[in-house]
């Protein structure tokens, strides 16, 4: 985040007419290489921003399916950790960067895709055919 600060001047901000929207990075299915310390840090930063579950394999070989919602980055990997929720497990969990051997973006990215554009297109078609009470519903969770 820090590297992006000061990208805009206040004059540019005040003159902004429309905000350029975010292009979502396609991360679903990605298995980042974790060869270096930078690789680990970069991959976990993306996992923190990812709106889907990931699968972590720890160095002893344990697999954890988790939603990573926070990260704390210290000077070394040993001082850095992620916080996550596991399905069907109460409470927040914590795991050190240094304990992670493999990371896979296995879960569906809930913020990605063209579902908005797809929905507008579908809406217009359904409306034109006379359908009523058309709605975009949230994903079912139960």
């Amino acid at each position: 985040m820090t590297a992006e600060v000061s990208k805009y001047t206040i004059e540019q901000i005040e003159a902004l007419e429309l905000v350029p929207g975010t292009e979502h990075e396609q991360l679903e299915g990605w298995v980042p290489e974790l060869a270096s310390e930078d690789d680990v840090r970069n991959a976990l930063e993306k996992a923190f921003d990812y709106r889907g579950d990931v699968t972590i394999t720890t160095k002893p070989g344990k697999k954890i399916e988790a939603f990573i919602f926070n990260r704390h980055t210290g000077a070394t990997l040993a001082e850095s950790y992620v916080q996550y929720f596991e399905p069907n497990v109460n409470g927040k969990q914590k795991l050190g960067y240094a304990e992670i051997a493999r990371l896979e973006f296995t879960g569906k990215d809930r913020a990605a895709g063209k579902h908005w554009e797809d929905w507008v297109k579908a809406y217009n078609e359904r409306k034109a055919s006379g359908e009523k009470n058309i709605a975009l519903h949230p994903d079912k969770i139960d």
């Binding site: 901000i13 003159a15 905000v19 916080q83």
Partner: protein
């Protein structure tokens, strides 16, 4: 003035207590998000895109009360997700009323009429009902035909039962100022206490990434909407914040003014941005690098933001801590903001957004560029 004197006095005395203690950074409104689950899938919302096991998680009433005590803000806004989907929302609200917190329960009102009998009217409780303009525009914004009718039924029922109600509107590119002014007439006729409004924040996780207003367009839109006001319109907001939206004032963000607490913890730095979480409110205040946020920082994530949760605290503090501010607020409450130029803006061709649904009968004309 739409806001009750007791609430104004509570906030005024709180701000002065902080000043006398020499406290430069303090919260005014706690944004308490007890869950992210929602029964709508709004185009401009980036709050609810999570895996099902995360959406099923909720704060307990005890966690909510602990956060409120820890934060100490005199007001609590309860957004989400949809708070009325929380099975213990009544217990949470009653607990906050017992603590004499002024609560704004933000709801899309799809469940309001069904659940209203569970709540008791109080000067501390306001239902802040999501209503993004006239029927067609609201339904488009929340991606649900019939959503406006249900919300209005909920508002009518809440008003009838003696609750405080404020419709809460978020506006995006393509908003027709004349339509918004007609909407003001319509909701004030429902008997609401006052209107709440804000430009949308450019959530990077929101489904629709094409309609977030930049600052120049926000000022033009809100000048057209809020100038030449009718006396029947009341706003449940700081008049100085509305002047900021109209381009009459220059403010910097107060990101710690409306801190957010949810199932992940205390959100850094604010309700809108997710740059991490703190375990405690103290940790949030002490470890967040506040200078990296707000328009002056140049942070692209803050570039378009003129949202109430960052800038209304600035306006409230500005209004309460000086005689000049108090006078400006008093003038604002009673002024109709006559403005010839703004009248001309209203006669400009109606804008249309990046996408328009069939149901919205909007002429195919471009928004005037000045």
């Amino acid at each position: 003035m739409a806001i009750p004197i007791s609430q104004v006095w509570t906030v005024f005395s709180y701000v002065w207590k902080q000043r006398l203690k020499g406290n430069d950074r303090y919260p005014l409104v706690l944004m308490l998000e007890p869950l992210f689950r929602c029964n709508l899938a709004c185009a401009g919302c980036g709050k609810v895109q999570y895996p099902p096991h995360v959406l099923k998680r909720m704060l307990t009433p005890e966690e909510c009360f602990a956060a409120v005590e820890e934060c100490g803000a005199p007001m609590v806004s309860i957004p989400g997700g949809e708070p009325l989907l929380h099975p213990q929302i009544v217990e949470i609200v009653n607990g906050l009323i017992a603590r004499k917190k002024y609560i704004y329960l933000c709801t899309n009102a799809l469940e309001l009429k069904r659940r209203i009998h569970e709540f008791t009217p109080s000067k501390y409780l306001t239902f802040s009902v999501h209503l993004d303009g006239e029927r067609e525009h609201h339904d488009y914004s929340v991606c649900r035909e019939g959503g406006w009718d249900i919300a209005v039924e909920g508002i009518k029922e809440a008003v009838k039962r003696g609750f405080r109600v404020t419709p809460n509107s978020t506006f995006f590119d393509g908003t027709d100022p004349n339509s918004v002014r007609r909407y003001f007439d319509e909701v004030m006729a429902l008997g609401v206490e006052g209107i709440v409004l804000s430009p949308g924040y450019s959530y990077d996780k929101a489904p629709d990434q094409h309609r977030f207003l930049g600052r120049a367009r926000v000022r033009r839109l809100f000048r057209a909407i809020l100038s030449n006001r009718k006396k029947s319109w009341k706003f449940n907001m700081s008049p100085l914040f509305l002047e900021f939206l109209m381009g009459d004032r220059s403010y910097e963000c107060t990101p710690w003014g409306n801190p957010a607490y949810n199932i992940f913890g205390w959100q850094k730095p604010c309700y809108l941005l997710q740059d991490g979480y703190a375990e405690t409110f103290k940790e949030l205040m002490e470890t967040t690098q506040w200078e990296e946020y707000g328009a002056a920082s140049g942070n692209p994530k803050c570039a378009n933001c003129m949202v109430s949760c960052g800038y209304e605290p600035t306006a409230v503090i500005d209004g309460f801590l000086s005689v000049k501010g108090l006078v400006s607020m008093a003038k604002g409450w009673f002024s109709t903001y006559e403005d010839e130029h703004a009248l001309k803006l209203l006669s400009d061709p109606a804008p249309h957004g990046a996408t328009t649904l069939v149901q919205i009968d909007t002429p195919d004309r471009e928004m005037a560029a000045k």
